[in-house]
């Protein structure tokens, strides 16, 4: 009987569904929310519509929007985790707090992994999908079906990382799962497996995406748009995607080896059997350092678009910006060891990596100066997007200085694994990626919705965010100096840290107010959209091609592919009074495809099955993926053709709506 159960359900038992009240509550909340949404969709008979218009859509604008929706929901999850940790550390002075040590460890592991893989990466891929084709004058990405597969793999990974709230427990080994703690011997449960397979599946999606966008950028630019005439955002995406191309296979291999150790008892990183744990640490950071630039380069790109538009000047030092991106891309593979100077590699090695780290700060500094020179003597409009940029400069400079401090190996022996480090990387990631995303959101919102966001509430949200952010993280720098290490679920009262932890908790409260204001900003803007309507398609007097299109762009983006002669192509066209061509040609668009959703669902079940050792299901889903791919790849490609008459009609209807 027991044997049969094991064959059918693997390690999954009823006990797996029993949780302590906090985790159980979160799980119940998640299930109820999900059921409510599904009930609503069923009630409204919207499943067919969702499937046809969203789930199977190959339009990168829709895929991008889905990435952003997932990223936003995950941001809320990650914030809830952050709140729990801040609450715990504010309370746990000489006491145990309200979370058990084990639960606290799951929380910081989940927070870190979710924020990086499903918030930051989701934002990056979402924005890239939305903006890159528009900016290079393309109608689509190079491989629309693969794009959909990438998204659904991302979504599958997202579900797997949230599944522990319902069944089993999550990893307690931190967001990078260092061995030997993450090996079977010390983490025998399902937690680390959840972590591995969530990241593995989402990571393969990212890898596929990078190939897609590199080919898109190389092969699908509008005629005349040479590489040195591309918008800087596109350049920064190119840098970022090249990094994904070279870094993510390392992650795939490393996660693969970790799981071979756990599944088949192999010895790569184990303490016994001749394994070498530091091998893992080296490999994971050979991926991990490039990863931070993968996240921040597109954010730099967003600022490079926002600053010139709102300064009414062309970007200062375009060529140096391109070089800075190229150099950062290259050098980010030469600094990984700065994450573990304490390994004991010796003075020579540490010196080399310390110096490389300082060198990579130079092109980053060049970029900051270029933005500031762009503003200099410009007619600067302090819109919300611009305020996000200013918030970014402040926090990025602060975090950058802390980073250079840590790049000095002897000093890093003090900072390593302290809250000083935690403060540093949050200043970079929140200040860079998150503020960048918010700037981009305010900037590009009218392009997709046809009206601008409320400026006043927007400014207030920036203000509250920055205030909260400084309150939440400056104390961590100080605590780090006082010797507080990271990942503490409690500490001795005599250390006198509690005051600062309480300040940090208050800071998070203010951040929440900031987020509330952002939601309010969107709500009020929708409410009063009549007053901020934009019918021109060009609300900010923009410079790049996306602003030449009506809001929102048609499915095919460009009725006629523009010809580019200069940088800032749209700006030039506007000032030459160039009229858009109406020499329409039939347009070929790919037909919807359910392949992405099918592969994603199979990958989801595959991931869950392997976590729970349900081998028959692993085999079934694997065969399913292979069959789905074979069937879809051997089928002749399906196109829909939009005829010139239809284009004329669509474009005329849009003109009518705009007038």
């Amino acid at each position: 009987m027991n044997n049969l159960r094991e064959i059918i359900f693997g390690r999954l038992t009823w006990q797996a569904f029993q949780h302590d009240p906090i985790m159980g509550g979160a799980g119940v909340f998640m299930v109820v929310a999900l059921l409510a949404i599904m009930g609503y969709v069923t009630y409204k008979h919207k499943w067919g519509w969702l499937w046809r218009n969203w789930f199977t859509s190959l339009d990168p604008k829709k895929i991008g929007a889905m990435y952003l929706i997932v990223a936003f929901i995950m941001l809320l999850r990650g914030l809830a985790d952050a709140l729990m940790m801040r609450g715990q550390q504010a309370l746990a002075s000489g006491a145990n707090g309200y979370l058990s040590a084990d639960h606290f460890q799951q929380v910081f592991t989940a927070h870190g992994s979710i924020m990086i893989f499903f918030v930051a990466m989701g934002i990056v891929f979402g924005v890239i999908n939305l903006i890159v084709p528009l900016q290079i004058g393309a109608r689509d990405v190079a491989f629309p079906k693969l794009n959909s597969i990438s998204f659904w793999l991302f979504a599958a990974g997202m579900i797997i990382i949230n599944a522990p709230l319902i069944a089993g427990e999550f990893s307690t080994a931190g967001w990078l799962a260092y061995p030997p703690l993450s090996e079977l011997q010390y983490s025998p449960g399902v937690g680390v497996d959840y972590w591995i397979w969530s990241l593995q599946i989402a990571g393969i999606g990212s890898l596929i995406s990078s190939i897609n966008f590199v080919v898109t950028i190389f092969k699908m630019r509008a005629p005349g748009m040479t590489l040195m005439k591309m918008p800087i955002f596109v350049w920064s995406v190119l840098g970022s995607m090249v990094l994904v191309m070279f870094a993510f296979p390392i992650l795939t291999a490393t996660l693969g080896m970790l799981s071979l150790g756990r599944l088949l008892g192999m010895h790569f990183f184990t303490a016994g059997g001749g394994g070498d744990a530091m091998m893992y640490v080296n490999l994971i950071w050979a991926w991990g350092h490039p990863e931070v630039y993968i996240l921040v380069l597109p954010a730099f790109g967003i600022f490079s678009e926002v600053v010139p538009v709102f300064s009414k000047k062309k970007l200062f030092g375009y060529t140096s910006m391109v070089w800075a991106i190229a150099i950062i891309t290259l050098l980010s593979f030469t600094v990984w060891l700065h994450h573990f100077f304490t390994m004991g590699a010796g003075a020579d090695v540490n010196t080399f990596f310390g110096i490389m780290t300082m060198i990579i700060a130079i092109p980053t500094g060049v970029k900051v100066f270029n933005w500031i020179f762009t503003m200099w003597r410009g007619r600067v409009q302090f819109t919300t997007a611009m305020w996000w940029f200013i918030a970014f400069v402040v926090s990025f400079t602060l975090g950058g200085v802390a980073g250079v401090m840590m790049s000095v190996p002897p000093a890093d022996f003090q900072f390593h694994n302290s809250l000083f480090l935690v403060a540093h990387f949050h200043t970079m990631i929140i200040g860079g990626v998150v503020f960048g995303a918010f700037a981009g959101f305010n900037y590009w919102f009218p392009k997709f919705f046809g009206f601008k966001l409320n400026e006043r509430i927007g400014r207030w949200s920036v203000f509250m965010w920055v205030l909260g952010f400084l309150l939440a993280f400056t104390p961590l720098y100080i605590l780090g100096f006082m010797g507080a290490t990271r990942r503490l679920d409690h500490y001795d009262a005599s250390l006198g840290w509690q005051g600062l932890f309480i300040v940090a908790a208050v800071g998070v409260g203010l951040i929440l107010v900031g987020i509330g204001l952002q939601l309010l900003q969107v709500g009020v803007s929708i409410w009063q959209r009549k007053q901020s309507l934009d019918t021109s398609g060009d609300p900010w007097d923009g410079r790049t091609l996306e602003w030449s299109l009506p809001n929102p762009p048609a499915e095919y983006n460009f009725a006629v592919i523009p010809t580019v002669t200069e940088r800032d192509a749209f700006w030039v066209a506007k000032h030459n009074n160039a009229q858009p061509s109406t020499d329409y040609e039939p347009i070929v668009v790919p037909e919807n495809s359910g392949l992405g959703a099918v592969v994603g669902s199979l990958a989801l079940v595959f991931g869950l099955a392997i976590v729970w050792h349900i081998w028959w299901l692993v085999i079934v889903t694997l065969v399913g993926v292979i069959l789905a791919l074979i069937i879809s790849l051997t089928r002749d490609e399906m196109y829909t053709v939009i005829t010139t008459d239809e284009i004329k009609q669509i474009e005329a209807a849009r003109e009518g709506a705009a007038a």
């Binding site: 390392i250 080896m257 071979l260 010895h267 059997g273 070929v588 074979i630």
Partner: protein, 199 residues
């Protein structure tokens, strides 16, 4: 209507161009994956942990035979592509089938090598050296398996539809993949087997 055909044809041509570039980039990412496994092998190959070292278990003549078989299969794959490009369907079909048989033999030999190692108690969990050996060589074997599947699908397409233009393009990508696996194997043969047997 001719307008439509022209547009769709042009679209198909540019798509093939994109696919070729995309496939090259994919091959590059796979190179990075193998590089990671090679690096791991390089670090761990001395950690035998009381178990056998490379020179105790490698059977060089056997591996040499494997290598020759794989190299020949790359040659037959080349012939298949040339014949297909010439429109010689029968020859293309035959050479592709030959490639499959050679590739399949290679895979069987690898599996028998793995099997006998495991039976002797020298499986992948024996030591860090063996873990990295099995993973590196096994990952190559997994790629070969995928390649074989792909060849089967191609054979089936040729059989059913003849030499469609689109299939010729697919065949060229398959050939690229197969030659790439050949190159990786040369590295494995040299670094793992040759250097392992000599030291």
């Amino acid at each position: 209507m001719s307008d439509l055909i022209r547009v769709v044809d042009a679209e198909q041509a540019t798509r093939n161009e994109r696919k070729a570039l995309g496939f090259w980039i994919y091959i590059m990412t796979d190179c990075v994956l193998f590089a990671t496994l090679f690096a791991t092998y390089a670090v761990l190959h001395g950690n035998v942990f009381g178990g056998p070292a490379g020179k105790d278990i490698f059977n060089l003549p056997f591996v040499l035979a494997e290598t020759l078989i794989l190299l020949t299969s790359s040659f037959t794959m080349g012939l298949a592509t040339i014949m297909a490009a010439k429109g010689n369907r029968h020859q293309a079909y035959t050479w592709l089938a030959a490639t499959f048989i050679l590739g399949f033999s290679f895979l069987m030999m690898e599996i028998s090598e793995f099997g006998s190692l495991i039976i002797d108690g020298n499986g992948p969990s024996r030591s860090a050296f063996l873990s990295s050996f099995f993973t590196l060589v096994g990952t190559h074997g997994l790629h070969i398996t995928v390649g074989l599947l792909w060849i089967l699908v191609m054979l089936w397409r040729f059989y059913k539809h003849g030499l469609k233009k689109q299939d010729l393009h697919r065949l060229s990508l398959l050939a690229l993949f197969w030659h790439f696996l050949d190159v990786i194997w040369i590295f494995i043969f040299t670094i793992v087997y040759l250097m392992g047997s000599l030291s």
